[in-house]
Amino acid sequence: MSAEPAIRFEHVSKAFGETKVLDDVSFEVARGEAFCILGRSGAGKSVTLRHMIGLVPPDSGRVFVQGENVGELNSDGLTRVRKQVGFLFQYSALFDSITVGENVAFPLRRHTRMTEKEIDAKVDDLLTQVGLVEHRQKMPSEVSGGMRKRVGLARALALNPGILLVDEPSSGLDPVTSVEIDDLLLDLKRRYGTTIVVVTHNIPSARRIGDTLAFLHEGRILDRGTPRDLANSKEELVQRFLTVEGGT
């Protein structure tokens, strides 16, 4: 096992104005691990994820991705890290003025020297993986929310990232589609050893995907461990959250 974790947070704090969003948060995500960050809305989950690709800089503390301190990187360094990390946004964030296929081809055109023919084949391959190859020519507005999410996943995977960050994979989706997305993530982890960090408040989904769950509350990690550990957590809030969300 490699000594350097895929992601490491060291005493990270972040505030927006008066509101403290992260308060001295430290954790590590091992390579090939599926790490789920749980917590209520506004607990700082998405901000944690955004720190990992430098979309949000920490006020204090350090964030390491593949051993590189994200906060200290110049734009070339940040580009290098971002190429190794895929990001699936909560509402997919597809480019709405280009087709589904063009969305997936976008990172390939920007960052590879592939020919149009090779890009074409790669896009077909990625869209086949997420079961949407027949929707390639459609505009993002012409496909459903679940499909958009899968297109977002295909786009995030285009550059074969070693790390995949996923913001609320099940938000706005029906339970069946939500499970399909979870299965896609699990498949990725099994087949390619991709490190996956998922932010969610969907407990069943977190249990299905996560090797480690961390419960974030008011900017701090209240508890963390395997799904079984967390089910026996001594933290009352964690227990309440797990029960109310129907996880136990």
Binding site: R50, I53, L78, R80, R82, P107, R110, A156
Partner: protein, 255 residues
């Protein structure tokens, strides 16, 4: 406090615009996106500019005739129209029309991209969103404005000719000779080149408002409206200063 925040805002916008000029000649050059934007800003504005130029030229010609007829000086109509169109009306009307069409578009498009996280998505895909979205639009507007102004000047003079020939039957050759007789490079070059600055103003202000949009859909609408209002206002005010500067540095243009 109110006045201070206005100055702070102007300072932020100015720095934003200067940053785009600084970044423009640096890699990646984004040539494909710049070409796409020039097509959007320039080519697709051309019908509007041509139609507006024609109408403005025709109306100006009719008004000029009404005034000059009293003094029996109708032969000066083409010359007056040529000077007015090339020195001031063409550049200013073009800039205001583009700020309406393009400024609103940039404000709304970037605003929508911000609130739907598409700008974050660009960043997550290791693309410099500022370079890809802002620099390309600033360069495109700066390139397109002088060309659109030339189109407006030309169609304005044609519009004037059509209006005049219907009334007086003046020939095409005579009209153009007369219209361009009083125009030299001191008139034409600074008046056209200043529209590069107008292009910079339109793209900078509307990109800034779009790029930093907040408050969801309402914010997008606000960014779009403000893009038009602020860029039009700043263009009109800047024009006063620019004209004064042109007269100072190129006295020939004041004659």
């Amino acid at each position: 406090m109110g006045l201070m925040s206005v100055f702070a805002w102007i300072g932020d916008v100015f720095r934003f615009g200067m940053k785009s000029l600084w970044r423009a000649p640096r890699r990646p050059f984004e040539l494909a996106e710049i070409s796409r934007q020039i097509y959007e800003v320039g080519f697709r504005s051309a019908p509007l500019i041509a139609a507006a130029g024609f109408a403005v030229g025709a109306v100006m010609s009719m008004h000029t005739r009404a005034s000059l007829e009293r003094f029996g000086a109708t032969s000066l109509i083409p010359m007056g129209l040529g000077i007015a169109m090339i020195k001031e009306t063409g550049p200013l009307v073009t800039a205001l029309l583009v700020s309406g069409r393009v400024g609103a578009g940039i404000g709304a498009e970037l605003g929508a991209m911000r609130v739907t996280e598409q700008i974050d998505a660009l960043e997550s895909l290791a693309v410099d969103s500022f370079k890809h979205l802002v620099v390309t639009r600033v360069v495109a507007c700066m390139a397109a404005l002088p060309i659109l102004t030339m189109l407006m000047d030309f169609t304005g003079i044609i519009g004037g000719f059509v209006a005049e020939s219907v009334i007086s039957g003046m020939s095409f050759d005579l009209y153009f000779d007369s219209a361009l007789s009083a125009i030299d490079f001191d008139d034409y070059i600074p008046a056209t080149v200043k529209t590069i600055l107008f292009g910079f103003i339109i793209a900078t202000i509307s990109s800034y408002l779009g790029y930093f949009t907040k408050n969801g859909t309402a914010g997008v609408g606000q960014a779009s409206t403000r893009s038009v209002v602020f860029s039009s206002l700043i263009i009109i005010l800047t024009n006063v200063i620019v004209v004064k500067a042109i007269f100072f540095f190129m006295p020939g243009a004041a004659q």
